[in-house]
Each structure stands twice: as C-alpha cells, then as structure tokens.
Symmetry: D2
Subunit: 219 residues, 4 copies
C-alpha cells in the first residue's frame, strides 16, 4: 500500500517487502532523537495522542532524515556525469567538500558502521534490489574516504537513498521513509508517556543554565 | 515492528499480518477527510514534507478515527457486565442511546455497509483473530438495530475496535491505527500537492459566505 | 485587534488594554513548560521557525492553560445557582472535591501565591474590570480553603478565567490567552535554539532510565 | 513584551507601539490564506483549540510571510554594497532578476498597492521609525520598476522587512511577525469553526477532479 501510494503503481515483485524493510529501519531510535522528546513533552501537557505524535513528526527535520533526499540527489548527479562510477563519485565528493558541506548519507556520530545500512543492503540483495544505485552508493563510500580524508561509511540515510532510487521513487520523497516509518515509534513513546509518566514533564533545573542579563528594573 | 512497539511483545503468530491489514484499512480515503485537506493547504504554503503531514496528523481528531477507542470501551463494558452477549450489548446500546450519544463504531454516512469492516473480519478469520471480541461486536450490530430503531452496521472503526482487543492492545491505542496507517496517504497527498499543484492553494471565493456585520468605522 | 477577533466587537473602553495584560501574563515562563521544550527540540532538528513554534503550541494542552476554561465554567455554575456568592462558591467547591478533582484556577506548585494573578487583578482594577466575576473568584478562594482543607490561592488561570468573563468572552476561549500570548515566548525560544545551540538536541543519557525486558532473540 | 522577547532589550521609546502595528498588520486575512483553511479543517475534525491553531501555524510557510526574511536580506545586501541607494537597490534587483527569482517584498497579486504597507510606513513616521531602512526600501521600489519592467510596489512583507531592521531585529526573525501576529486570527477562525460549523468539514466533490488511472485489478 505504501508503495502504491508513493509510486502510483502496483508492486510487480518485491517492492512491498523492500518498502517494509525501509520503514522498519526508520521506526524507532529510543529517545536519541529530538522528534521523540518533542512528542513526549507535548504528550505530558495533556493532548490527544495524534496531536503529540504530530509534534514529533514536525521534528523530522533537515538534521533528522533530511539526508536521504540529498544523498539521492548526489547519486543522480554522479550518474548524470557520464563518468565511470569511481570517478563520478569522487567528482561529486570533491564538489561537496569544496563547498564546505558534509557528504549526505555517509558517516555517523554514534553508529560506525551503521548496522541499519548493512542490513538494508542484505535485504535488498535477497529481494533483488541490490542494483545500479546500491553499487554507486558503494563507489561513494570508497571515494569519500579519499576525498574527505577519513573513513565515511554508508549510513542508514545513504542506504535509504540508494534504495529509494532502486524502487523508482522520486528523490523528493527521501524523508517519507521517516515520516511513515517513525509513526509507530512516536505512537509508542506518546502512549508510554500518557500512561506511565507524570503529567507536565519538566526539563530539570540542573539541565538549565542562564546566560542573560541580571534582573533589570522595568519602567 | 508496529505490534512490538505497541504491545511490547514479539508477535507469536499472525499478529503482524493482522496489524498490517488494520494499517492498510486506515491508509487512505481520498480528499474526503479534513486531515487530508489540512495537509494539502499547509503543503501549498511552502513547508517541508514532514511539517505538512504533521498538520494532517493533528486532524485525526475525535470525529476522525476517534470512535475506535470509544467502541473498544463499549465492548469492554459489555464484556464486564457478566450478561450473555445479546443482553450485554443491548444494555450498553440503551445506556448510550439514553445519554443522547451515537453508538461508536456503527453506521456510516457514506459507506453502508462499510466494506472495510467486512474485509477486516474476513482477514481476521483467515489469520485466526475472529474471536471473542469480534463476536461481541456482531452482537452489538444486532442489538443496535433494535435499540436505535434503524440498521447500524459495523463500520471500519467498530471492526478496528474489536480487532484491537483481539490483539491484546490497550483501548487507549484506538486512534493509533489511523495515526500510523494514514501516514502514507498523507505523504502521498502532500507530495502531489508539492509537485503538481500551484503554491498557495485558495479555497475559492465561490465557496465562502460572510454573515458578519457591515463595515464599521474604527475610532 | 485581539479583542475584536475574539468578541466580534470593537472595544468601547479599556478592553484592548485588559486583553494586552492577559497576553503578557501568558507570554513566557522560561523552560518550565513542556511546550517550550517541545519547540526547542523540534527547532534543533532543522525546521522552519513557524513549524517549531507550532510544535510548542500543540503542547498548550489540558495541563498547560487548560484550567482557564474549566475555572470560567465553575464561575458560571456558581453564578447560575442563585445563591449568595460564598454559598454558591462553596457548593461548587464541594461538588468538585466530591468528584475527586482539583479546583481549576486555584493553587500552584511553584507560585504560591501566584504573582501573575495579583498583578492581573491590579490592572483590572485600574482599567475598570474588577467586577462581578473577579469578586466571585475571590469568593472561591475563601471557600476553597475551607472545602479542600488547605489554602488555595487564585492562580494565573483563575484570574484569567474571571477576566475572560469580565470581557464578555466565551468560556470556550479560555486557552486562547495562552495560544496567542505564548507565541512571542515560543518564537524567542526557537530563535535562540536555532542561532545559539547545537543542532540535534540530545536529552542526555544520564536523564534516561530503561525498565523494559532484556535483549530478546528475534525469530 | 514581544520586543523584549525578540530583542533581549527593554524598549527605550516607541518600539512596543511599532511592534504592535506590525502584529496587527499580520493578524488576519480572511480565508484567503492556506494556514486559515488548514486550521479550520483540523478544527472540524474534533481537536482542542490549540492543536487546530498549530496546524494553521505550520502553514505560515515560505509562500506565506516567508518574504520578510528575504526582503530584509536584500536590504542588507544593498546596504553593504557601499553604493548610493538607487544604484545599490538596482544592483540587487538585477542580481535577483538574473537568477530568475522574484523580488521579495514587492508586488502583490491581490493588493496593488498593498494598503498595509502604506499604513505601516505612516505609523512608522508617527513613531519615529521612518529611517534609513525604510528609505532604502523605497529605493528598491523605484529600482524594481525599471529592472523588472513593471511597477512593483512595496507590499506588507517589504514594509515589515524594513521595519524589522529599523527595530534592530535579526533578519532571521522575519516570519516572527506572522507567527505571533496571526495567532489571534487563527484562534478566531478555529473558535468559529468549532462553534458555528458542522463537524468534519468536506471539501465538496464539485471541487475535486481525478486524473489518475482507472480502477485496476489488485493481484
């Protein structure tokens, strides 16, 4: 159903199962995600479940799944260059490095290597989706290490970007895997907050520091 | 994964497939839903995909999937009465009628009978979930016609409520099927709006009427 | 303008200045509010300013300004009883106590007495709004101490409720003062997060405890 | 209060009154705004007031107030060029035209001239804020006609941009006037929808056209 809604076409083979794996990869990440904390704080204020989930969904921003679109565009840019994959990937990496940006879809602060990427490629292999775009993504991994001067392994967003293109979907749908896939995780967090935590969650003064001016007289 | 996140337990049988059917039933309903229009208007104003989907998600309110919780509670109320199903269902129907309320999960303005309910029960039968709660839901259908004086067939929310309980989930999660299941539909609407429609969607003056005071001088 | 939009009428006297005082009272409360934290977490994920503010706005829930509506309804209930104020207020207090609920608009965990309530009544006195509803609110304060067995002073929500009625506004607009008034505070928090904090705000593992099952093998 | 929260400083003169005029200019625009329709559709689905307002707030997107930031940046770019105002404005106009973009803050489909811009400059004159940035904005109006080949009058966003800078605020706060100022309008629309309209607002089939494939058999 998700494939139909995003592509307009009925799955002809394993598209549905590949989509499912992508959604599962995006479904949950504990409280290490701003979206989850937003949803829990809002839930603690006494709102309906869907409203708290929506607050979390807003938080699936550029720093939180936003790299999938960008990584897909980088793959398309390399593909359009007409160069062999290693040269094409290296050229795109250099352009991005020279603009002072990070390579979207490669490297991860916490997960290195990112186990979700490896598992997605395994599933893709089983389901017949380890094709042209996945191979190009691997060429980027090889090129990135050289261009950026340190190992940059494909992370979950990079793998999603390659598989988005394998499924024939539009790069503009990069964030869709998180928007659809994270919904169950957000529902679970919100429900837990509603049923197991005290209302009106507090950030805790010990986590707050104030740097502003001292008290001022108001005219 | 959705079952694990909502129940805390790993599926032991067909829970995952039953959950999938429930999510598919909630996934899309054309533009006949306030949530979809909210998402499309917001998308037309120029915002990231996830933010427009969130606007739609907020709109999964009491009149839009909210009957699942209430219908599940009605089933539990009947079950707790200790009466045989027909009497138990009739007693709950009478209480609701006497309070001037509608029976949640039964009857539908557009879909009568609601094909989603019938199909969900078929799938439930195939997967081994046509159990105690589904039978009680059918007892409500029989009792409702008599108590409310007109045929009230089980709608999609009523079927979801019964299957929520068959899956052992909490009634407070009634709206979760819509929150999770409608995400792909909202993503598709937003993406279509972003890529195929003009920015800044207009409601059309021909759809607007004004009933307020005439122009007034402002001091 | 806010008075015109909420009442439909042009201010004839000091309604605008009274409204302004109510909005100022609601405008900011540091990070001691779930709404603010929701907005900041979402902002840190990389979204447009208005989307992060919206996440915070969702969080102005039943536990966060929701008492204004309820307190206004309590005042109306007492007023409708036909009893003298002290007896009317005491009767409503007893009904609420007997239902096991808290008296909306009275008492505050942090602020006792709540300086915002006192200041609002001072402003109301200056502007000619210290009328029938404010006096009734004070009768509730006197009755509440006796009925609930401890001092329960009028808090900011209780003062807002009385002044909502003094302004002739509908009790259903109780939360409106927070929705309108907190917008500047949320904008300021979001802008500070966007410009002075690191992206992808983290809750900090030291603030997290896990109570679930141990790792389980997945079939 | 809004000035304090956005600038960090106490107003020393008429900053508060100038801010108030900017908020009033942004407060309401009938249903000719996607944000308003989003809020009303969501309200019709049965959600708390603040959640429906939040759905509208999300819709204050790039096409809906987003020009204020961009117009302020254009003013700063011209100012930084060191050229006299007419040449500086013309150079920025040419750059924007050559990139195929529209000049932010100038021209309006419905309002030509935009009465809000003229009135804001009048108020600014009264309050002592018709300074360097307002004059530069007028130089843009003159240059724009020549560079873009048709009259492009300062619209409300253009006036807001100039006054944002007159107030010493950060260009990144451009959308803040709408986020804060439109809150009363959204509250009023939501409350009207909740109290005067039928639940579950429908877009009306006569407003819908379908262009997709015919019914297809599903395997």
């Amino acid at each position: 159903m998700a494939y139909l809604l995003l592509s307009g076409g009925l799955p002809e083979g394993n598209e549905g199962r590949m989509m499912e794996a992508l959604l599962v990869a995006a479904s949950e990440h504990s409280v290490v995600a701003p979206s989850v904390n937003a949803a829990r704080f809002v839930a603690s204020a006494g709102v309906p479940l869907q409203a708290a989930v929506a607050a979390g969904t807003i938080g699936l921003g550029d720093h939180h799944g936003g790299a999938v679109d960008a990584a897909a565009l980088a793959l398309l840019e390399a593909d359009g260059s007409g160069l062999p994959d290693p040269e094409a990937a290296a050229a795109v990496c250099r352009r991005i490095r020279d603009e002072g940006a990070r390579l979207p879809g490669y490297g991860h602060v916490l997960h290195d290597p990112d186990p979700r990427a490896g598992r997605l490629f395994e599933v893709a292999d089983d389901l017949g989706f380890l094709g042209r775009w996945c191979k190009l993504a691997q060429a980027f991994e090889a090129a990135a290490g050289e261009v950026f001067g340190r190992p940059l392994r494909t992370n979950v967003d990079g793998a999603m970007a390659a598989l988005l293109l394998e499924l024939g979907l539009d790069p503009g749908l990069g964030k869709a895997f998180y928007v659809m896939g994270r919904a169950p995780g957000l529902v679970a967090h919100v429900f837990e907050e509603q049923t197991r935590e005290r209302p009106y969650r507090d950030v805790g003064w010990e986590n707050v520091s104030y740097e502003g001016p001292d008290a001022r007289p108001v005219p």
